[in-house]
C-alpha cells in the first residue's frame, strides 16, 4: 500500500515511503497454506477455543475455493433430494437394461429391460 498526494490527478510518492504490507485479507490464506490446506471451519474451531499459541484470530474469507484443495480433496456432491414426482400415470417412466447375465436363458437371452411408472410404481 502506498500513500500519495494527488494535485493535478497525479499521484506523488515520497521516497522511502514504499513498504509492502500484508493485507488482512491475505492472512487467512497464509495460515490456510501453512496449515497444509486445513479447512476454514477447522481453523475457525481452533481460533474459537484459543488453544493454539501463535495462531491469530482468522476470519473465514468470502470465497473459500482453493485450487489445490479441489485437486487434493474434491468429493462427489451430495445426491439431491427428490424434487417432485408424477401426478398422473405414465407422466414419467423410468427404464433400465439389466445384464449381461453370465448364464443364458433357454432361449439364449442375456438381458432384461425394466419399465417403471413413476406414479403407480407399476413395473414390467
Amino acid at each position: 500500500m502506498i500513500k500519495g498526494r494527488t494535485p493535478n490527478n497525479l499521484y506523488i510518492f515520497e521516497e522511502g515511503q514504499q513498504q509492502c504490507y500484508l493485507s488482512k485479507d491475505d492472512e487467512h490464506w497464509l495460515w490456510h497454506w501453512r496449515l497444509g490446506h486445513l479447512s476454514f471451519s477447522q481453523i475457525r474451531k481452533a481460533c474459537k477455543y484459543q488453544e493454539i499459541r501463535g495462531l491469530p484470530d482468522i476470519k473465514i474469507p468470502d470465497n473459500t475455493i482453493c485450487k489445490s484443495c479441489q485437486f487434493g480433496k474434491q468429493t462427489k456432491t451430495n445426491f439431491p433430494e427428490k424434487e417432485g414426482s408424477a401426478s398422473r400415470p405414465l407422466e414419467l417412466v423410468h427404464v433400465d437394461v439389466c445384464g449381461p447375465f453370465r448364464t443364458r436363458s433357454p432361449r439364449g437371452e442375456k438381458y432384461f429391460i425394466l419399465f417403471i411408472d413413476d406414479f403407480s410404481r407399476m413395473f414390467g
Partner: protein, 189 residues
C-alpha cells in the same frame, strides 16, 4: 516402511513411546485382518504384554473406521500441499508426515475444546514456526572449510519439521538430500 512386515517393529516402537509419553499402557489394538497384523510373532507379543486384539471382519473396513477416516484426511492434506507447491511426488512421505504434525496440533475433536496435542501432552501447542510446505528456502551452509568468496547458503525446498530436533526439514538441492537445519530463510511467496 518398505514392506508391510515392518509394521510389527513399528508397533513395538510406537508402544514404547506411547507408554513413556502418556504413562498409560495400550489395552486394546484394533486393526484389519492384513497379514502384517496376523503374524504369529505379533500375536505372541500382544499376548505377552496383555494387549487385547480386535479385528474387523474380513473385507469390512467400516469396522476400522477411525483409522480409515484419518488415512483419508492425511492423504487429502498431503495431496493439496504437493499440488499447491508443485513439489515432486517422491516427497509424498514428507508431505504426509507434515500433515500429521499439523493435524495433531490443530485438530479439535468433536465435543472437546482442546486440541489433540493438548489432550496428549497437557499443554497448548505452538505453531509459531509453521511455514508453507514446499516453499523455496535458503539453507545456511555451515561447512567450516567454506572459502571467503563461496556462497553462504544453498537453495532448498521446505519439507516440514524435524521430528528429532527443533529444526526445519529441507531438501538441499546442492547436496541432493534431505537435511535438518534451523538456519533457514523461507520464502513463502
Amino acid at each position: 516402511m518398505k514392506h508391510k512386515d515392518e509394521a510389527f517393529e513399528e508397533f513395538k516402537s510406537f508402544k514404547a513411546l506411547a507408554k513413556n509419553e502418556s504413562g498409560h499402557k495400550i489395552k486394546c489394538l484394533r486393526s484389519d485382518r492384513g497379514v502384517e497384523f496376523t503374524s504369529n510373532e505379533f500375536f505372541d507379543f500382544c499376548e505377552e504384554h496383555g494387549i487385547r486384539r480386535e479385528f474387523s471382519t474380513a473385507r469390512t473396513p467400516q469396522q476400522n473406521g477411525v483409522v480409515e477416516r484419518m488415512n483419508r484426511t492425511v492423504q487429502q492434506m498431503a495431496r493439496a500441499m504437493l499440488d499447491e507447491s508443485g513439489t515432486a511426488a517422491t516427497f509424498w512421505g514428507e508431505a504426509a508426515f507434515a500433515a500429521v504434525v499439523i493435524l495433531n496440533k490443530t485438530n479439535v475433536l468433536v465435543n472437546s475444546t482442546q486440541t489433540t496435542h493438548e489432550l496428549w501432552y497437557g499443554e497448548t501447542p505452538s505453531i509459531k514456526h509453521f511455514k508453507i510446505f514446499g516453499s523455496k528456502c535458503y539453507i545456511k551452509n555451515n561447512d567450516e572449510q567454506l572459502g571467503k568468496l563461496e556462497p553462504r547458503a544453498d537453495e532448498g525446498i521446505l519439507l516440514g519439521y524435524s521430528p528429532h530436533s527443533k529444526a526445519y526439514k529441507c531438501y538441499n538441492k546442492r547436496l541432493g538430500r534431505i537435511v535438518d537445519s534451523i538456519d533457514v530463510v523461507v520464502d513463502e511467496k
